[in-house]
Symmetry: C2
Subunit: 246 residues, 2 copies
């Protein structure tokens, strides 16, 4: 038996997120079904990041165990033949049998993409959140800087899922301007439920002048179970990659 | 009566192109229908560029005549309320009654976008043509340079539509590399039927080593009614803008 790691890109538009659930089509389910057919074994992949409904990925990671004699690196090609065009395996390789994509230490990179102009551009509507009022990106970066480092992000998560600790480390959080695009690029050792979308919603409120950057350190110092900002819409969010540490 | 000019962006994915035709949904038809309802007049817009099925636009241009008392610049906002999300008016303004978007001298800019990497990225599949073999972009630019200037582009058009002259001027044709993206950006005083897609298909063949750049000047010197290269797929093409000359 060997363990195979897949790097997976998907357009989340039509999916109810990653994780299998009844009466809804999910990315995990589609891959399980096609892997099971391809390898003629019952396959259940274990994903690293359970992205929400509508969230996209360039490099989510999943593993599965198999007895197949197909060379590990060829599985990506064979599986892509069977997958719909909105899910594409980017690579497949063998990993140690004790490698677990959720428990292994990692650094995740997300991008939240905003289209900031007077009128929506239709060709950008599926992957960008549209904001027509001009954003003050300097203030957004000022607020973002407070979030970098190790903090209790209790006020930056939805309470739906209980976790032992709400302390996480953000390595970097950059507000990148590219013409009409504002990209929030965040790297961290892990993110709480809805954390990136709440950070995005909070920074957008700062950019709109609804919140002052100076509110951020106050919220971080006395975290309460009250969300500091709204969830920004799912379709603006993309999981860019996951780097696993040695 | 006044004449209104619209600048129109659309995602061409679901449309059978710009021009009205029986038994197919087109951009022109959708706008006519919603303008007619909005203004309570029979409106038939005249478009500048009749983009093909599946081609996108950031700035196509159309005009129509109306007796409405809605201020010209507000029509964009009112019309966008009624249009589907894949068609968005970017601006509306009054123009002289003799302004005709097809006969007025103009410079059009198109972009043909290619995703050049081993595996497709699903979030780019709708607006990029995917080529997995590595393109030699230096050779593509070398070939592109031969096309700049005034030439008889008879070998770079589909014969479906007859025109008096197949001489056109290309002001610039740049092969732009942005990571995995290769963007062919072309500006000209007018383009023959399928001309940009045939230029793209030809430059891709050059990039793949199927054709030498030196073939281009030979074709231009003795143009025949035989296409020099294939039509690249429609979904990679975007009409960026149309500038009208004084």
């Amino acid at each position: 038996m060997k363990r195979i790691k897949l790097v997976i890109a998907y357009d989340g538009t039509k999916y109810c997120g990653w994780q299998i659930q009844p009466n809804a089509i999910t990315v995990e389910e589609v891959i399980n079904k096609q892997l099971t057919k391809l390898l003629d074994e019952d396959i259940e992949i274990i994903g690293s990041s359970r992205t929400d409904s509508g969230v996209h990925a360039l490099g989510n990671v999943a593993v599965f165990d198999t007895e197949t004699r197909i060379p590990a690196d060829k599985i990506a090609y064979a599986l892509n033949q069977r997958l719909p065009k909105d899910i594409v395996i980017q690579s497949s390789c063998e990993v140690p049998l004790d490698f677990h994509p959720r428990y292994h230490k990692s650094c995740k990179t997300y991008e939240y993409k905003i289209l900031n102009r007077e009128f929506l551009l239709p060709t950008m509507r599926l992957y960008h959140h549209f904001v027509y009022k001009k954003l003050d990106t300097d203030k957004m970066q000022e607020a973002a800087n407070y979030l970098v480092g190790e903090h209790d992000f209790k006020s930056f998560c939805s309470t739906k899922i209980q976790v032992k600790s709400t302390v996480r480390t953000i390595y970097s959080l950059d507000v990148i301007c590219k013409g009409d695009e504002v990209i929030l690029r965040v790297r961290g050792n892990g993110f709480l439920y809805n954390m990136v979308r709440i950070i995005a919603g909070t920074l957008i409120n700062v950019g709109l002048g609804i919140m002052e950057p100076s509110k951020i350190p106050k919220v971080l110092e006395s975290p309460e179970r009250v969300k500091v900002g709204p969830n920004a819409p799912a379709h603006g969010l993309t999981l860019v990659n996951i780097e696993f540490k040695e």
